[in-house]
C-alpha cells in the first residue's frame, strides 16, 4: 500500500472521514475520480501527474454533501479552489479533511482551512509556461486580431457546457444561461451567442477563477477558454492586488471598495 492509501485507510478507521474523493486508474493512463466509503477500498487510490481533475467540484453535489465527513485528495489547484470556495461561503456546511501530496511526496493532512490556506500561500503556483506564452501571444495581438481569434475559436463551441461543469467556481444551481425571463444568452450554438456565453462566464469568474485550467483542458473542441479567465485574473491582480484562492477571508475585489483602488482600468 502506498503512503496515501495507508493514510486514507487510517482516516477511515479512526472515523475522521466517511467518504473519500480521490482518483483511480482509467484507460489511456488517465485518472478518473473515485468515491470510496470504506477503508477496504483504499487500494484503488492513486496519485499521479495525470490526476489533474479538480475534485472540489464534487463538493457542490447534494449526494456528496450527505456524506458529512468528507476526505478530499487535492492537488494545488484543488487546494486553491477550496480556499476560494471558503471565502465565498460555499463550504461552511461541509466537514472536510483535505489531503495533499507535496513536492517531496509526503502525504499531508489538513483538518482545517487555516492550514490549507497556509500551505497554499507557501506553495502558490505560477502560471504554466505554456499559458504564459499563449497569453503573451494574445496580448501582443491588436484588438481586431484578438476579436478575430476568439470569434474563430467560439465558432466551434457546441455549448456542451463542459467548461462550466468542471469549474469549481461555477457552482450556481441554475446558471444565467438557463434563465429565460429574460433570455440573457441565446440557447442555440452559433458564434455570437457562443461569444456571449463565454464572455459572460469570463466576467462572472473575473477575480474568482483559481487558474486550474480544467475548462480549457477538457473542452471537447479544444478552445483554450481558460485563457479568458486567466487574463481577467491577471488584470484584477494588477489593478486591485488581490489573488484568487489565496485567502479564506479576503473580500471579492469587484464588490469591495478601497480608497486606494485604481480607476485607470476604466477606459
Amino acid at each position: 500500500m502506498t503512503p496515501l492509501q495507508n493514510k486514507v485507510a487510517e482516516l477511515f478507521e479512526n472515523g475522521t472521514i466517511s467518504l473519500m474523493i480521490g482518483y483511480k486508474n482509467a484507460i489511456n493512463k488517465l485518472a478518473v475520480p473515485c468515491f470510496i466509503d470504506h477503508a477496504t477500498q483504499v487500494e484503488q487510490l492513486i496519485y499521479t501527474p495525470e490526476c489533474k481533475g479538480n475534485l472540489s467540484v464534487y463538493l457542490h453535489k447534494a449526494e456528496i454533501k450527505q456524506a458529512k465527513k468528507i476526505g478530499i485528495l487535492a492537488n494545488i489547484a484543488t487546494l486553491r479552489s477550496l480556499v476560494q470556495l471558503t471565502s465565498e461561503n460555499q463550504l461552511s456546511d461541509i466537514e472536510k479533511t483535505v489531503i495533499t501530496i507535496n513536492a517531496q511526496n509526503e502525504v499531508l493532512v489538513f483538518d482545517n482551512m487555516e492550514k490549507v490556506e497556509e500551505y497554499v500561500q507557501a506553495n502558490f503556483p505560477e502560471y504554466t509556461e505554456e499559458d504564459k506564452k499563449l497569453l503573451e501571444q494574445l496580448n501582443s495581438m491588436t484588438r481586431a486580431e484578438r476579436w478575430q481569434y476568439w470569434s474563430e475559436q467560439f465558432a466551434a463551441c457546441v455549448k456542451c457546457y463542459a467548461c462550466r461543469a468542471v469549474c469549481p467556481m461555477c457552482y450556481c444551481s441554475s446558471c444565467t444561461v438557463e434563465c429565460n425571463q429574460p433570455q440573457w444568452i441565446k440557447v442555440s450554438s452559433e458564434t455570437t451567442g457562443n461569444l456571449e456565453w463565454h464572455t459572460m462566464r469570463a466576467m462572472h469568474l473575473a477575480g474568482r477563477c483559481i487558474n486550474c485550467g480544467e475548462c480549457g483542458r477538457i473542452c471537447p473542441v479544444g478552445i483554450p477558454v481558460h485563457l479568458l479567465t486567466a487574463q481577467m485574473n491577471l488584470d484584477i491582480e494588477k489593478e486591485f492586488g488581490s489573488k484568487t484562492g489565496f485567502s479564506c477571508n479576503s473580500g471579492y475585489a469587484l464588490n469591495t471598495f478601497k480608497p486606494e483602488d485604481k480607476e485607470q482600468f476604466i477606459k
Binding site: 450556481c172 441554475s174 429574460p182 464588490n255
Partner: protein, 666 residues
C-alpha cells in the same frame, strides 16, 4: 392579455410646444397591446385624472402609461388615479417626455419621435408589470436616544411627552453632556446649569423614559420600526437601587488625586465618584482604572463604610437587549485638544487654556467657584487674549471646516471676563466674525462696543513666556498686516469642534454613513437634515456637525417629531419596490447559492442570511433573503447576482430588458 392606455400630457405648453402630442397619441394608439390613447392639456389636473379613471373603466385597461413629467413629480398622483379606477397602482408607469424630451430638445420631428420611443419603452415595461402590494411593517413604539446631552434630553422629553416610551443610553455616569459644563450661554448669558438641570431631572423622573447611564450601545440590528439593540451596561460597582447618593463613599475614598474630567483636568475627583453635584442620577460609580481595590486588590473602604451596602465589586458588564422602533443619535462632539499647535504653547504653559477650561473657570460650580483665576498661580489675570479659529478653518494644520460656535463663545468669554474683572483687558484675535443668528451679531457688537473687548483681525503666530507673562505675537490685517505683540496673563484658545473619537465605530454599529471628519451624515443636507440614510435612525445635535444650543435643541425636537410621526400608526406602509430573492420548490428552495456578494454590497444592510432546513432540521442550503423593511430598492444587489436569483420588484430584469428591446427593435 394586455390592454394598455396611453395618456399624453401637454403640460400646458411645456410639452406641446416642442412635441407633436397629438401625433404621439395617435401613433401610441397603434402600438401592440395599446387599447386606448389620448392627449390632454393637464393630465395631473382633476379633469385629467378623471379622464384617466374613466378610460380605465370604459376600456377595461390593464395598465396605463402617462407620458408627462418626471415620475418624481406625479407618479403618486397617477398611481392613486389608477387605484381609484380599480387597477393595481403599480400598473401605472410614467414616460418622462418633459424633462427628458421637450425641455431639452428643440421642436422637431426627431423630438416627437423620441417622445414616442420613450412612450413605447414604457408600454413594453408596463406589459411586464406585476401587481404589487405595499409592504406593511409593524412598529415598536419605543425610541432609543443615544446620548444624554441637551440634544438627547430634548428629543427624549419630546417623544416621552407625546406618550411614547423612550430608552436613553448615556455612556458617562451622568446625563447633561457638554452643556452641563458651561458657565453661561450666549446670547442671553443665562446660567447653563440653571436651564439644563430641570430638564435633566425631568428625564430622570419621566414615567415614559428609562434611563441607562454608564451604558453604551453595543449592537444594532433590524430595521425601521423594528430595531434590536444590545446595550452594554458597564459595571458601576454600585447598586443604584440601594444607593441613596449620600456621598459618604466619595468623601472617604483614599484615591483623591484623579484629574477631574468634568473640570477639564483643573481639579481632582475620587475613584468612586459622581461627576458633579447636580448629576443625574446623583449616585456614584467606581472608576475601576483608578480604584485601589481593582488595581492593587486592597482597600475596600467604600464597601465598608457604605450605609446602604450598595457597593458590589463583583458586578460585571451586563448586556440588555431591547426592541425599539426609532433611534435618535445624539452622541455629541469633542474638542480638538490644543496641543497640535506647539507654537501656542498649550500644555507647556499652564495659562494657555482652551475654551472649555475657561467655561469651568467661569462657572460657579467650577474649581475656582466662578472666579477667573490663572491655573498656574491662581492670580486673577489682568489681560487675556482669546484666539478664535484655533484649529478651525485651517486646512494646513487643523481642520478645514468652521466650528461655528467659537465666534460666539469667544465673545461670551471675553464678556464674562470683563463682567468679572472690569478693569481687565480682553483681546480677541479672529479671522472673520461669524455671528449669524438671532441676536448674535448684537451680542458680539455688545462685547466690542459696551464691554470694550479689543478685536484684532489677524492670526496669532506664536505664544511664549517671558517674565511671567505670555507674549502673544500676531498680526493685525486691518492695520496693513502690522505685527502685534500683546503681553497677556492668560490665553484662551477657541479650539475646533471635532467628532467624538469613537464616532466612526458608532456609525458602523448603527449602519449610518458619516463624512470624512466622522460627523454623521444626514439623508439630504437640505430636505432631510435630521434623518440618516438608514430609515428610522435620526440625528440630533453636534454629532452631525458643529452646532450651538438653540440649533441643537431645534434639531432634537425635529428628530423627535420624526420618531413621533413614525409612531403615529401601528404599522408603516412601504413602497414594494424592493429586491426579492426568488423562491423555488424544495429541494432547491431558491436558485441563490449563498455567495453573499449582495450582502456585502447592500448599502442598507437589508440582505440577511437564511438557512433552509428540512423537516428534521438538517441544514440543506444557505441562501439569502431581503429584509423588505430595510431595502430601499437601489438594485445594487441585482447587479451583483451572477445567476439572477435576486430581482427588483417594479424594475425587474425582464422589465428593463423589455424597455431596451423596445428601443432596439424600433
Amino acid at each position: 392579455m394586455a390592454r394598455i392606455g396611453v395618456f399624453i400630457c401637454h403640460c400646458g405648453e411645456n410639452i406641446s410646444a416642442t412635441v407633436d402630442v397629438a401625433k404621439v397619441a395617435e401613433k401610441a394608439g397603434k402600438l401592440s397591446g395599446v387599447a386606448y390613447s389620448v392627449d390632454y392639456k393637464y393630465m395631473c389636473s382633476d379633469p385629467g385624472q378623471t379622464l384617466i379613471i374613466d378610460a380605465i373603466k370604459e376600456h377595461k385597461l390593464t395598465g396605463i402609461v402617462v407620458a408627462s413629467c418626471s415620475p418624481r413629480m406625479h407618479e403618486g398622483t397617477f398611481r392613486k388615479a389608477a387605484e381609484k379606477a380599480g387597477i393595481n397602482p403599480y400598473f401605472c408607469e410614467m414616460a418622462n417626455i418633459r424633462e427628458q424630451v421637450s425641455w431639452v430638445h428643440p421642436k422637431s420631428d426627431a423630438t416627437t419621435q423620441k417622445a414616442l420611443d420613450i412612450v413605447r419603452t414604457m408600454v413594453e415595461k408596463v406589459k411586464k408589470n406585476t401587481a404589487l402590494t405595499p409592504i406593511k411593517v409593524p412598529i415598536t413604539k419605543t425610541a432609543l436616544v443615544i446620548g444624554g446631552g441637551i440634544a438627547g434630553i430634548q428629543a427624549a422629553l419630546d417623544i416621552a411627552n407625546a406618550g411614547h416610551s423612550v430608552i436613553m443610553v448615556e455612556k458617562k455616569p451622568s446625563i447633561g453632556g457638554h452643556m452641563s459644563q458651561l458657565s453661561e450661554t450666549f446670547p442671553t448669558l443665562d446660567c447653563s446649569q440653571c436651564i439644563l438641570t430641570p430638564r435633566m431631572v425631568e428625564v430622570a423622573q419621566h414615567p415614559n423614559i428609562t434611563l441607562y447611564t454608564y451604558a453604551e450601545v453595543e449592537k444594532v440590528t433590524g430595521f425601521v420600526g423594528n430595531f434590536e439593540v444590545t446595550i452594554r451596561m458597564k459595571a458601576k460597582s454600585v447598586d443604584h437601587s440601594k444607593c441613596t447618593g449620600c456621598g459618604t463613599c466619595w468623601q472617604k475614598c483614599p484615591s483623591k488625586k484623579i484629574p477631574d474630567e468634568f473640570n477639564e483636568g483643573m481639579g481632582f475627583r475620587t475613584a468612586i465618584y459622581s461627576p458633579f453635584p447636580q448629576a443625574v442620577p446623583n449616585k456614584p460609580v467606581i472608576d475601576r482604572d483608578h480604584c485601589n481595590y481593582f488595581q492593587k486588590g486592597k482597600c475596600g473602604v467604600c464597601q465598608k463604610i457604605c450605609p446602604a451596602g450598595a457597593i458590589d465589586y463583583e458586578v460585571q458588564d451586563e448586556f440588555l437587549d431591547v426592541k425599539v422602533g426609532a433611534i435618535i443619535t445624539a452622541t455629541g462632539f469633542d474638542l480638538k485638544h490644543a496641543d497640535f499647535f506647539p507654537e501656542y504653547g498649550y500644555g507647556q504653559f499652564k495659562d494657555v487654556i482652551d475654551g472649555m477650561m475657561f467655561e469651568r473657570l467661569a462657572s460657579a460650580s467650577g474649581p475656582t467657584a466662578g472666579e477667573i483665576r490663572r491655573p498656574s498661580d491662581g492670580k486673577i489675570p489682568e489681560k487675556i487674549v482669546f484666539v478664535a479659529c484655533a484649529g478651525s478653518r485651517d486646512k494646513a494644520k487643523g481642520i478645514e471646516y468652521c466650528s461655528k460656535i467659537c465666534c460666539m463663545y469667544t465673545a461670551k468669554h471675553a464678556m464674562l471676563y470683563k463682567h468679572k474683572k472690569h478693569d481687565g483687558d480682553a483681546y480677541v484675535f479672529y479671522m472673520d466674525i461669524r455671528a449669524a443668528g438671532k441676536d448674535y451679531d448684537e451680542f458680539v457688537r455688545r462685547a466690542i462696543e459696551e464691554d470694550d473687548v479689543h478685536y484684532i483681525r489677524g492670526r496669532v503666530s506664536r505664544i511664549y513666556e517671558k517674565n511671567g507673562k505670555l507674549i502673544v505675537k500676531g498680526v493685525d490685517t486691518l492695520m496693513n498686516g502690522d505685527p502685534v505683540e500683546i503681553e497677556a496673563d492668560m490665553v484662551v484658545l477657541a479650539t475646533a469642534v471635532i467628532a467624538n473619537q469613537d464616532a466612526e465605530t458608532v456609525a458602523q454599529r448603527m449602519h449610518i454613513s458619516y463624512n470624512k471628519h466622522h460627523f454623521f451624515a444626514e439623508a439630504h443636507p437640505k430636505l432631510r437634515p435630521v434623518e440618516t440614510n438608514t430609515a428610522g435612525i435620526m440625528l440630533a445635535g453636534a454629532c452631525q456637525g458643529a452646532k450651538d444650543i438653540p440649533e441643537t435643541v431645534s434639531q432634537a425636537s425635529a428628530s423627535a417629531s420624526k420618531a413621533i410621526g413614525l409612531f403615529s400608526s401601528n404599522e408603516m406602509t412601504r413602497e414594494p419596490i424592493v429586491a426579492v430573492v426568488n423562491r423555488q420548490a424544495p429541494p432547491n428552495f431558491t436558485s441563490c447559492t449563498g455567495c453573499m456578494l449582495c450582502m456585502e454590497v447592500c448599502p442598507y444592510h437589508a440582505i440577511e442570511r437564511e438557512e433552509m432546513k428540512d423537516r428534521t432540521g438538517n441544514l440543506i442550503k444557505v441562501a439569502v433573503k431581503v429584509n423588505a423593511g430595510l431595502c430601499q430598492g437601489c438594485g445594487t444587489c441585482v447587479a451583483m447576482c451572477r445567476n439572477k436569483s435576486i430581482d427588483l420588484q417594479g424594475f425587474s430584469n425582464d422589465q428593463m430588458l423589455s424597455e431596451v428591446m423596445a428601443l432596439l427593435n424600433s
